[in-house]
Structure formats: structure tokens, C-alpha cells
Amino acid sequence: MTLFFFLMSILYGILKFLHINFVPFTYAGYPIGLWIAYLIVAVVEVLLVFIIAMIVVVILVYVFRKYMADVQNRIGPNRVGKWGTLQLIADVFKLIQKQDITPKTADRIAFRVAPYIVFTPVVLGFMVIPFGNVSILNLMVVNFNYTILFLVAFMTVAPVGEIIGGLSSHNKFSLYGALRSAAQDMAYEVPMLISLISVVILAGSYSAVDIVRAQHLIPFVIPEILGFIVFFLAMIARQSIPPFDLPESGSELVSGFSTEYSGMRYGIFYMANFGFMALASFVIAVMYFGGWEGPVFPGTVWLIIKGAIFMIIFLLVWVSLGRVRVDQLLNLGWKYLLPISIVNLLISSALAIYLTGVF
Amino acid sequence: MISVESETKLKSGIRVVYVPKENIFQYLKERKEEGFDTLLMITGVDYRDHLEVVYHLLSTRTNERLVVKTKTDGEVDSVTSLWKGANWHERETWDLVGIKFRNHPNLRRILLAEGWVGHPLRKDYPMDKKQYVNLGDDGEDRVSFDNKEGY
């Protein structure tokens, strides 16, 4: 739709310039000028959210490295900038300078596109996170009734990029990484979706804003504790951080699907990973911990606090746990998480019916 | 019962027996049945006029150690059918000392690259000749005396 509006406005400008006045000045009953105003606002919001996402990633990478250094009794990065704050910037510059190697035998187009397929959904995911409850500028770029579906759809796109990257590299380790990625996605996505559906049933809406509003009295983590556990584990698996870092699994498959990547393409994989960690933390905060709901502080602050707590938990999980074997992960996904999520679905359906009966 | 040629002792008190090379397999088999169940190592020694193969045995039950030696001109029966661990030790002995083991399943070089010229632990090995190794496209090592073709 955005593209259509964009083309329309360009066409409008051209025609206006040529003093041709036979185009209709209204579209869908509104004057074109209003559409253009909306367009500008939308573009600005998209850029803003993109920048916010990037800032969150930068901060997260910094915190990750510092926190990892902390728990490992090290100092961590402290050379670039005050306390090493600009380390990531330096790293990005280093990555950009590096030669961008595409292996001779790789599938060129797929190999080059794969990092963007992984990275784009992460940024798009940030578009539907309700960052605040201010009515006009709620920092939510697109607010429509099916934001959760949108989110889920984009979350499931990213593994496709990993698989493409792994298969196109023409390397046996990458191949194994891609295969593991595929198997792992199967294992965690079904329970994840079912546990999301339970939230939707309880809230009675697919909209993230409605889900947050529905948690005004009581956050969904209390009735949906099982669903929360399933979703949390699925999010860990989706980020492929330990204990579920099978597609990358440093000590077994060298670097899994990203073995052959170098330079900025590898950097994009890396940033996508951290971007998703931030996104997953916000999604968990929105779904189960009442998003912006909270006393005293404004809503945005609450959401960021909740998100930050989950990011730290993810980081702690990352640095402290070992890796499971691939069959153990599949066992966990199909034998435990799926039944648990179905039980959770039943509970929340019953709860929803009961509540509709009461009110 | 295979008789031994002569018997001495190491300085550390371990019994050493000399066995004719034709009987070495039979002798070791008997010792294995007798209780010397672990083969610690096989090695070869170059005495300039002849080669010797040395087997170090250990009994895990009685803690006894036994060194079996045999004089050879470069070929001796393999004991891989008695001990699986003998495989690598025999390959190493072939690699470094140049003693051939009959009936060995996979008698290739183990530490040096395949195609290396000479056996380094022989006393007449030319130390001044450098050999260069490189990895071929098929994943096998290439050896040459030319320093442009390897490292």
C-alpha cells in the first residue's frame, strides 16, 4: 500500500508541475494532500523506528560484551571511546573494510541475498511493537488489527535466510548448519505459534495494542505460565543462542550456516542476531508482561525496562549454558513443548469462555 | 612354548627377552594369554648393522612389565590381530624407523607425509636434505625436494 501511495504522490507531483488538472484531487474520499502528509509521517516513523532498532542493537552488543566480560572476570572492551562504548562502531568499520568474499563454487545470488533475508524481518518486526500508549505518536508504525500475525510471519522468514545462506555456501559445515536450522525451526515454531494463539484467544484480538490493553488488570504470564515457558524457550531457539545454537554451534560446525561469510555480510548476520534478541525481549514483554502497563513512569519507560530485563536474561542464558544435542532439541520441541503448549491452549480457551460467561 | 634366545634386564629392573623374529607373533600371543594383556608401545632401534623391534608389555593384573626384543633385517609379523592399539604403533615404527610389518591392514606413514623419502630415525638418514610438503587438491600430501613446491 505504501508503495502505491508513493507512486500516486509522485504522479500527482508530476501532473501538478505540468498544470494538468484532470486527476482527481481526492482518493478514497480524502484529499491527496492529507495522504501525502500521512506518507511523510509514515516515512519518518519508519526511519525513527529503524534508528531506534539500530540503537538498541548497538547498546545490546555493548552490554553483551561488557556483561560477558563481567561474568568471566575480564575487563572487556575499553579502548574505543569512553569505557569502550564505541567498540561496535569500530568493529563495523573493520567489517566494512574487510574483503567481501564469495566462494567460487557458491550460488552467487542466493549467497549475497541471504544476510538481508535474515536482517530485514528483524527491523520490520520492530514496526509493530507498541512502544508507548500516547495516542498519536505511540511509536508504533503500523497499527492494524493483525499485528501479531504480521510479527509471526516475519519471525518465521528469518530462518529461511539462514537455510538459503547455508545451502548456497557450498560447504559441508554450512550445509549441516542449514539442515539443523531447518529441523530446529520445525521443532520450535509449532509450539511457539500455539502458545501465541493462546494469548490471542485470551485477549480476543490479534492486535498488539489490544493485547497490552487486555493485560491492564493482570499480566498474561500468570494465567499463561506454561505458554510463557514454551514461548521463552522458542525465542531462545529462534535466536540460536546457547543452549539451542545448533545451526551455528561453534565447536562442532565451525560456524554453521555462516561459515563462509566474511566482512559486512557476516556482520549483518551478527547484528540480526542481536536485533532479534531485542525484538524477542520486547515481544515477550508485550505478550506476557503487560507491555507499557505500569505505575508512575510513562509507558515507554516501562516497556524498555521490561525488555531490558529479558535481554539480560537472554545474555545470561547465552554465556552460561552448554549446548544440547540436535536430537535432544527435537525431542524437547516435539515431545514436551508441543503437548505443553496444547495444554496451555486448552487452559486459556477454557479461561476465555469462562470470562466471557462472567462479563 | 616358544623359547627365548637370551634374557637380560633393563636398568630399571624390567625383564628383557630376545626372541627370534620368526616366532615373535607366537611368542607375543602366548604372553598375551599368559596375562601380559596391554601393549604399551612398539618401537624400532637401528643398530647400524641390524634393526631391533622392541615390544613393551604390561600385565594389568600383576603389574609385571616385560620387554620383548627381536633382531630383524627390516620385516616382522604384525601383531594388530592381537592388539588394536598396535596398529598406530606399527605404522609409526614403519614411518620413522622403516620396519615393515607383514599382514598389517594399513601400513602407511602416520606422522610424516605419505611419500616422504627415508626413515628419520635410521642412523644413516641424511639430515641435510630438506623435504617440502604441500597439500594437493585431492587432500593428500605431496613431498618434494624443491622448496618452491611446499613448505
Binding site: 546457547p242 562442532e252 | 604399551l40 632401534v45 613393551h56
Partner: protein, 368 residues
């Protein structure tokens, strides 16, 4: 359907091969059909190098065998040479040797524990292991002047005495080492993820152990109570009180438990050594200064010792000159590593890293 098996080369450049091991693995999906280790990438022929110089010169090559437990390697060499030359070693020197060897055994096992954690995907315990090892290395720095390759043991004793400051450092170290070790160990041992990964993985039966000549912690983890320190005591191991840990399972988890317990036992030995160490000479004066280049020996000798990896010994032949005629190193990792094909067959790729690291191969020693 013939082309079901994929052949993958693990190494020599691979994050979890502990150096330069290369394993040709035939894989059917995730399952290992066949694994063939290929070694020799770190080959320097220490045996030939040792045969080219006098007896004391060969010691630096021994350091570079198992470079994470260099003291143990030195000990094996000097014991063999002393046996060959009938050297009397002063009592204090022997106690000092025991002290440094046991400390180094702990350091070696700590390296193993950290890298094993990395292979299992745990990033953090690695640093704790390094932190603890660093304290031991500081002690070595104080005693010997070096941190990794010491060249500390001489024929007839040791090169320098243990200083009071070093003793203080050791006392301070041992006061909280076991607690810290238990803390690190609990990160592994109590975690279900770790246990599920390692239980029943990389199994070696008793028969395989004997057939391959596997020694050391791997042997003890398969239910064989063998330890050279107990069976044929050298130094004063018969005068200290320690136990030999044994497990029956023969899998990676059992090896983990055995090594953890060995560290505790070694710490126990260290504290006993400090109590019992007498005053006196640390060096046999007969073999000092100019004698060092004129040491001559005749005969053959083999003295088994217990290195952190298993039974280590030097089979040495002297021909009456000051240069050893033949030096053969019985390296435990070499024999232990040869059991890899049996150990890996039928397990998954993820078990490969677990099993390989449970051998604790050090390639200076395997390739020599």
C-alpha cells in the same frame, strides 16, 4: 542411494580439535559411520632431536611434548636418565619434584576442563578454569622462572629451590582451590544439559581399553583401577596418602568425574608434600656445573610415570657416549587417540567434540 554418506574433514583447522587433529568422518545424516584420525601436523621428531644432543639438552624437547603439563614430561625423562646413570637424587629434590608435578597435573586438568566446556558450548567456565590455572602458573613462575616450559628438572635434582614466598603462595592457593574447583565443577555436573550430552557417549569397554593400550583417566573411567603412582611408585608416592578414583561407565561423564576427583586428590598430595618436605640439598652436587656436558651413560632404561594423560615413559638407550643412542617416548595421548574410531562409531556429530575432548589430547605429545 549409494551416495548417502558424506565425508567431512574435521580439522586440522577447526575450533574443537585441540590443536591440529584432523578426523575424516563419514556421516550418514548426523550419525558417524566411520571416523579416521589423521595426525602428524605438529610432528617435529623430538626423538631424533634428542638423539642429536647431550643428555641435558634433550630436556627442552621433553618440555615441548605435552606443553600443558611440561613438568610431568620432564620428570619422565630425568627419571629414565637418572636410572640409566645411577644418579642419587637428594630427598628434598624428590619432594620438590612431586610438588611441581602434582601442581602441573592440576593445571593440565584445568586446561582440559575449560576446553571441554568450550566444546560443549559453555563459554564461561573456560575463564574460571584459566583463572585458577593462572594462580598455579604464578607459583611456577616464582619457583622456576617460567610459566609454561620450565626446564626445571635437572639430572640429579632440580635447578632451583622452592622459595619461602612460593610456599606461601601454594598455601594460599590450596586454602580455597578445592572450593573453587567444586564451584566450577557444579556448573557442569549439576546441569542436566551437560549430563544429557555426556552420559552414555563415547563409550569404551574394558576390552577396548586394554586392546588399545589406553591409560590414564580414560582407563580409570572404564573401571580399571590402575595408576602408576600406586602400582609401581616412583618418587615418594608411597609415602603420601591419596586415592585413585575409578568409575565403571566408561563414557565422557565418567571421565569428567574421574578427572575432577583427580584434581582434588592432587591438591591433597600437594598439601601433604608441603608438610613432609625436609630441608636439605635440592641438587646432587656431583652432577653440577661442568659435569652437565660430560654426562655419559650406558645401557637401557624405561621408567613409567603417571602423566595427566596416562602412562608416560621414556625408553632410552645409551651407548656409552654423552649422546643418547635412542630415545623413544611412550606418549599416552598417542595410544588414547588411536581408540577414536571405536569411540565414535554410531554416535552423532555433536558427540564427536565431546568424545575428542574427553580424551584430552595434546598434540605436542601425539605428534611429538
Amino acid at each position: 542411494m549409494e551416495e548417502k554418506v558424506i565425508e567431512v574433514n574435521f580439522g586440522p583447522q577447526h575450533p574443537s580439535t585441540h590443536g591440529v587433529l584432523r578426523i575424516k568422518v563419514k556421516l550418514d545424516g548426523e550419525i558417524i559411520v566411520d571416523a579416521q584420525p589423521i595426525i602428524g601436523y605438529l610432528h617435529r621428531n623430538a626423538e631424533k632431536l634428542s638423539e642429536m644432543g647431550t643428555y641435558p639438552k634433550a630436556l627442552i624437547y621433553m618440555d615441548r611434548l605435552d606443553y600443558v603439563a611440561a613438568m610431568n614430561m620432564e620428570l619422565g625423562y630425568v627419571l629414565a636418565v637418572e636410572n640409566l646413570m645411577d644418579v642419587q637424587v637428594p630427598e628434598r629434590a624428590q619432594w620438590i619434584r612431586m610438588l611441581v608435578v602434582e601442581l602441573n597435573r592440576i593445571a593440565s586438568h584445568l586446561v582440559w576442563l575449560g576446553t571441554h566446556g568450550l566444546d560443549m558450548g559453555m563459554l564461561t567456565p573456560f575463564f574460571y578454569c584459566w583463572r585458577e590455572r593462572e594462580r598455579i602458573l604464578r607459583i611456577f613462575d616464582e619457583i622456576t622462572g617460567s610459566r609454561l616450559l620450565y626446564n626445571y628438572m635437572s639430572i640429579g635434582g632440580v635447578y632451583s629451590d622452592v622459595t619461602p614466598k612460593a610456599l606461601e603462595m601454594i598455601k594460599e592457593w590450596e586454602s580455597d582451590f578445592v572450593d573453587k574447583l567444586n564451584e566450577i565443577g557444579s556448573i557442569f555436573q549439576k546441569s542436566y544439559i551437560y549430563v544429557a550430552r555426556t552420559k552414555g557417549v563415547g563409550k569404551l569397554s574394558r576390552d577396548d581399553i586394554i586392546s588399545y593400550g589406553v591409560t590414564g583417566p580414560m582407563q580409570r573411567a572404564s573401571g580399571m583401577k590402575r595408576d602408576v603412582r600406586k602400582d609401581t611408585p616412583y618418587l615418594f608416592y608411597d609415602r603420601v596418602n591419596f586415592e585413585v578414583p575409578v568409575r565403571e561407565e566408561g563414557d565422557v561423564y565418567a571421565r569428567f568425574l574421574v578427572r575432577m576427583e583427580e584434581m582434588r586428590q592432587s591438591a591433597k598430595i600437594v598439601s601433604q608434600v608441603i608438610e613432609k618436605m625436609p630441608e636439605g640439598e635440592f641438587y646432587n652436587k656431583k652432577y653440577s656445573k661442568p659435569m652437565l656436558v660430560r654426562l655419559k651413560a650406558n645401557g637401557e632404561s624405561y621408567v613409567p610415570t603417571e602423566s595427566p594423560k596416562g602412562e608416560f615413559g621414556i625408553y632410552i638407550i645409551g651407548d656409552g657416549s654423552s649422546i643418547p643412542y635412542r630415545v623413544r617416548i611412550r606418549s599416552p595421548s598417542f595410544a588414547n587417540l588411536s581408540s577414536v574410531p571405536t569411540m565414535l562409531k554410531g554416535y552423532k556429530i555433536a558427540d564427536l567434540t565431546a568424545s575428542i575432548s574427553s580424551i584430552d589430547p595434546v598434540f605436542g605429545e601425539v605428534d611429538r
